[in-house]
Symmetry: C2
């Protein structure tokens, strides 16, 4: 059975106004990864005080991944990639601590240690195959920072319908300056890029994937541009095998640059469309409009559903049920 | 679906020579709860350097509980009740830290906080029913200490074939003296009993059960005298409903005092016999001889198998497979 490994954590970069929709407002975003992990593990929030929604009310992609899980029954392991709030979801510890704002110097001092501990853990995973996903508000901005530090193509997606790319670029410029970096200064040194310009989730995910791949566990990166950044980090760390990345049609619909980044890092991209277009359901309609797009392993979970012959009609029915359980209105207002 | 909640942790009391068989020797016992949680979660050890066996080679009851899980597929949540070594099993954090030797003053300062955090967690569990198990070497000695502090009947079982009860009683006497307690001094004050004479697993398990019961989640205590001590703690904390305790036939075969303690604390005892008598399998034969007896929720898992109409022949076949996977010889030498 394929296992979903979710890395959940935080970066203070998410507090910057207007760069993330992974929470109703920046002060609530700190709860999002803890809540996402609970939704994935239990089907509802448990200790978390909030169900994560975007400022416009679009629910977290954890709803979608949980819906697929309720149909397929795959096992889940959550790794603590720097959580800042308690979660009822059981987590594996690798020493990651909440990440700082990348506009400051040395925002992620635990990145190198978490990378190595996650790599050891990945090496020892007994599974034949894992899907690797993430949840971290602000994670596309830190991914953009890592791509800049590595000297890679600087393209990332967004949980907002309109990607605030100019704002993210400004943050990255300030971060590069604070770190005394010019573009490409951390080429060939993934841990330095992560420590200075990244976040603890990306460090943990890349380290875990590195270890899993070197011990012949098949890893499918379940996500969009953050996961492609994890692949870029592996390339700079000397991992050469082609790796699969499974994302949603919402990510690729928003920009063709994602395909270009996938080609750059030699990732084979699988894109799954859950068929939310034209839906009268508030959650599915929001995704169809381009909100949220991806996260919490959503693209990988959908690809797994497709691969096992599960109809998207069935998945959509499950989405309705999970959404309703979480307190969403059953149909559009 | 019924969930197994396993509380895993440590007490330095286990370092006292000759009081526990939950590890090949006292220095390896610190790994046992971390390894048990991995076996339950993954079916094999992952980060742990050892597969827990007794000094005579009898494997951990995690093998038995995992075997039932592989047949029934129930979900598992592990709570960190004071682990001292890394585990690849995801764990929920409630603030418990490894417990000290109860012969010293204030050995478990995190007990009251862990009790309350676990209680909050238990209150919020979405499940209708949970089985609650434990893994902590030395745990029957600390349970004996708690029973003494509460003024309850001082009977506990043992993972050793011959219960070293006189040695445990000596440890408890020293502990009472170090705490300035006479018997019954902590009656009505379960957190004080736990902090001075207990261990972090018992504190976490009792707190979790307290919260789950007060929010109408059915709790079956899956274990022997340690779990009966958890029930005693609830009684001293004002919980009055009759609670079910599910244990193995090996616990009740060793002593009739277990039934007496169950009656004292108003627990309805379910005893399940997995039919290991006369087995030529080294693990099952060791249990039939009275080694290990119980732990890691074994009695509760067996009761769940029986309740769902799963044949013990099927369970025994699963035990063979798990044992073999863990590196045990397939048949007796």
């Amino acid at each position: 059975m394929t296992r979903l490994v979710l890395v959940a954590g935080t970066t203070e970069t998410a507090r910057i106004d207007g760069i993330s929709a992974a929470g109703e407002n920046p002060s609530l975003m700190v709860h999002t990864p803890s809540a996402d992990a609970e939704i994935l593990a239990y089907g509802s929030t448990v200790r978390s005080p909030v169900v994560p929604v975007s400022p416009t009310g679009c629910p977290t992609p954890a709803v979608m991944t949980r819906a697929v899980r309720e149909e397929l029954g795959f096992p889940v392991t959550v790794i603590d990639g720097g959580l800042a709030e308690p979660t009822a979801a059981p987590t594996v510890t690798v020493g990651a601590r909440p990440g700082g704002d990348i506009r400051e110097d040395d925002p992620v001092p635990t990145a190198p240690g978490a990378y190595e501990a996650a790599r050891q853990f990945g090496r020892r995973m007994p599974d034949d195959e894992v899907l690797l996903g993430e949840t971290i508000p602000g994670g596309t901005t830190t991914a953009l920072g890592v791509l800049a530090a590595l000297g890679e193509r600087e393209v990332v997606s967004s949980s907002l319908r309109e990607n605030p790319l100019a704002k993210k670029q400004t943050v990255v410029e300030e971060g590069l300056a604070a770190s005394g970096f010019t573009r490409g200064d951390a080429a060939g040194d993934p841990k330095r890029a992560l420590r200075q310009m990244g976040d603890p989730v990306l460090a943990t995910a890349a380290g875990f994937a590195h270890g899993a791949i070197e011990s012949d566990t098949a890893v499918t990166f379940a996500g969009g541009t953050q996961m492609l950044t994890a692949v870029a980090l592996l390339r700079h760390g000397g991992v050469e095998t082609t790796v699969p990345v499974a994302t949603t049609s919402f990510v690729t619909a928003s920009s063709t640059a994602v395909e270009a980044l996938a080609a750059d890092v030699d990732a084979s991209l699988t894109v799954t469309d859950p068929g939310f277009d034209g839906s009268d359901h508030p959650a599915m309609a929001a995704y169809a409009r381009g909100e949220a797009k991806e996260g919490v392993g959503m693209g990988g979970a959908l690809a797994l559903a497709e691969r096992t012959g599960t109809s998207m009609v069935t998945i959509r029915e499950r989405v309705r049920r999970v959404y309703e359980r979480l307190g969403g209105p059953e149909e559009a207002e």
